[in-house]
């Protein structure tokens, strides 16, 4: 089955066609979702996220336009946006307990400015950053994601991620030292 047949089959409500699509694209969808959700989600979250892409395809196959791009690209975009939504849902829950030692430890090691007392202030400061800087910091230091992966998720060149991280750290330092009256 090629993609044209798959999409026409799905539009006809053919289960074999969607099964083909799932067999063919799950691995790729998995990699995309896993990159976005690395260390932020469980394997089950990723499975559900990938399944959601195919549920979307099954229910919205008419929205796919062959003229505008390949099925693979369309599904990849759907996977990425679903994974990013899932990430935001999850991180809302997780960020509340931001006092994870890894996060604090990493930033502290780099900047040598954070003491146990300034922990809460650091969290407050991070949350005060504008997007996508906050997300970059959280992904990098809390979820331990690679710059390359963050670049993929946020559609930004790695160099730009690096720059933003650097500027955010300066900003954080400023915010904390200001708060400490320094």
């Amino acid at each position: 089955m090629n993609n044209g047949q798959i999409i026409r089959g799905i539009r006809c409500g053919n289960e074999t066609a969607i099964n083909h699509a799932i067999n063919r694209y799950s691995k790729l969808m998995w990699h995309i979702a896993a990159t976005v959700l690395q260390n932020a989600a469980t394997v089950e979250d990723i499975e559900e996220c990938v399944a959601d892409v195919f549920v979307y395809l099954w229910q919205n196959s008419d929205k796919y336009d062959e003229q505008r791009g390949s099925l693979k690209t369309w599904l990849s975009t759907a996977a990425k946006s679903r994974a990013i939504n899932r990430y935001h849902q999850l991180s809302k829950k997780n960020v509340v307990s931001f006092d994870d030692e890894i996060m604090i430890g990493d930033i502290a090691l780099i900047d040598e400015i954070v003491t146990a007392e300034t922990k809460q202030e650091l969290i407050a400061a991070i949350n005060a950053l504008t997007e996508p800087d906050r997300e970059i910091i959280v992904r990098r230091y809390y979820y331990q994601q690679k710059l390359k992966d963050i670049g993929f998720i946020l559609d930004m060149p790695v160099k730009q991620i690096e720059n933003r991280l650097y500027r955010s750290k300066l900003k954080l330092r400023e915010m904390i030292t200001c708060q400490n009256g320094g």
Binding site: N2, G9, R11, G13, E15, T16, I22, E44, E47, V50
Partner: protein, 471 residues
């Protein structure tokens, strides 16, 4: 750090979630027929091998090159044995050797056997590692066959359309796969076999020339226009009009064999496998708007010499295979046509169960049931099923049902014997579709691990639903 590598368990779970959220049952193809075929084929090819050995020693070196047939066809394949190519071409990067062992094609269907050998310790670990699954491991997803523009059934990287490991052939350092695909135009661009490796890809061009004869026929005068058929000993492709919404797409196509017997599509094609596909190309012109144009491809269960076909019957018109302009009106036995039964959905996750007596009556099959043993004779085969057994006997051969161990095979409800639809379809070589409009669904909220609210649509159980059976 969590391990996020993808495996077949994840794929299974993805399908499960999909099924739960949509209420769609994804058909996973039963493997039993492949095993059955393999056994039948071995006796034939051993005999063929002995003949070849006695003829010339050149063939002796090729005497195990029959996997292409063994994997994909049953019965006697000797008459096209010589059309199998054995390129034995290989490429290597010092870690892996990719080899193309055999190719069989009729310029439409392509069957091949390829292998990968590991040359270093870490390559070996990659090739053989993580093999907890019954049939295969993830390594095969590194191998792909070219998605060239000329090929209808392009194969995406990751999941070949039909690639199956030949487990019996596995050695300490090498693994073999059998592969099946369908091509549109082999001349458009060379087909290539590719192994993705860290150091770059290993690529082999697949030879697609053939000496297998095929026929293209235009069958004229149907209510929707013409039917196109391409027939070869390996399979058939049809393009014809299908009534929109009809669950029985190709149930009006029959074949009269040279001995006069009329066979249905299902009796010739490999059932419930990736071997057949339907593609709906869209609506036909307005005057026949109740029809849509569909392409249907299927490879045959046996290799069938073209001389074994006398005619193709579409609707009530019989077309001579050698001259399709010669037609005649024909009335066929009503047992060759689709019919419907009331299937039973016993409980969630168990699928649908068909009333055995109604199915046998509709097919004209003979059945007997003594409360423990069920015997069905149909199309020259006799199958014996025992209640509670996980195997059945077909013409004296014991075959295991390829169903999940928690699936029921048979059940009695309101004094009626029902059988799992996947099991009875494989046993009798029939096809079937549930009429979704007849299924009552219920929406159930589910809690997802991310905490957001969602619901799924599930069939209510127990309930009876309409089910189309296609002989």
């Amino acid at each position: 750090m969590k391990n996020y590598s993808f495996n077949d368990k994840n794929l299974g779970n993805i399908k499960k979630v999909f099924e739960e959220k949509t209420g769609v049952q994804l058909n996973t193809s039963p493997e039993s027929e492949v095993y059955m075929k393999k056994k039948a084929f071995k006796t034939v090819t051993i005999a063929a091998a002995i003949v070849l050995l006695s003829v010339t020693s050149v063939f002796a070196a090729m005497n195990f090159n029959f996997d292409v047939f063994g994997e994909f066809f049953r019965g006697d394949t000797s008459h096209i044995q010589s059309t199998v190519q054995t390129p034995r071409e290989q490429v290597s990067d010092g870690r892996f050797t990719l080899a193309l062992e055999e190719v069989l094609t009729d310029n439409r269907y392509i069957f091949m056997v390829y292998s990968v050998e590991a040359l270093t310790g870490d390559a070996l670990e990659e090739l053989m590692g993580g093999d907890e699954l019954i049939y295969d491991n993830a390594f095969r997803y590194n191998i792909s066959v070219s998605p060239s523009p000329g090929i209808i059934t392009e194969t995406g990287v990751g999941y070949p359309q039909y690639a199956r490991e030949l487990v019996d052939r596995r050695t300490e350092t090498a693994r073999y796969w059998a592969y099946y695909d369908e091509m549109k135009d082999v001349n458009a661009e060379p087909m290539t076999l590719r192994l993705e490796t860290e150091g770059g890809d290993l690529i082999i061009t697949v030879p697609t020339d053939t000496t297998i004869e095929s026929k293209e026929l235009m069958l004229m005068g149907q209510p929707y226009g013409d039917t196109y058929a391409r027939l070869s000993p390996l399979g058939i492709t049809l393009i014809k009009g299908v009534k929109s919404g009809s669950p029985t797409l190709f149930a009006d196509v029959f074949f009269r064999m040279s001995d006069g017997e009329v066979k249905t599509f299902n009796q010739l094609k490999m059932l419930m496998s990736p071997a057949c596909y339907v593609m709906c190309a869209g609506d036909l012109p307005e005057r026949v708007s109740e029809y849509m144009s569909c392409q249907f491809g299927a490879r045959f269960h046996d290799v069938i010499p073209l001389s074994d076909f006398k005619s193709i019957i579409v609707g009530n018109t019989e077309y001579d295979i050698n001259d399709p302009t010669k037609t005649s009106e024909v009335t066929l036995d009503e047992k060759l046509y689709p019919f419907d039964v009331m299937a039973f959905l016993p409980e969630r996750g168990q699928g649908s169960f068909l009333p055995v007596k109604d199915v046998c009556d509709g097919l004209g099959a003979e059945m007997s049931w003594d409360g423990v043993t069920l015997t069905i004779s149909y199309c020259g085969s006799t199958s014996e099923m025992t209640f509670d057994s996980r195997t059945y006997e077909k013409d004296g051969q014991v075959i295991a049902y390829q169903l999940h161990e928690s699936s029921y095979i048979m059940l009695v409800h309101e004094d009626t014997l029902f059988m799992n639809n996947a099991a009875i379809q494989v046993i009798l070589g029939i096809d079937g579709y549930q009429d979704y409009n007849s299924v009552e669904h219920i929406k159930e909220p589910i809690e997802s691990s991310s905490g957001h609210d969602t619901w799924i649509s599930r069939p209510v159980t127990p309930q009876y639903v309409r089910y189309y059976v296609i002989p």
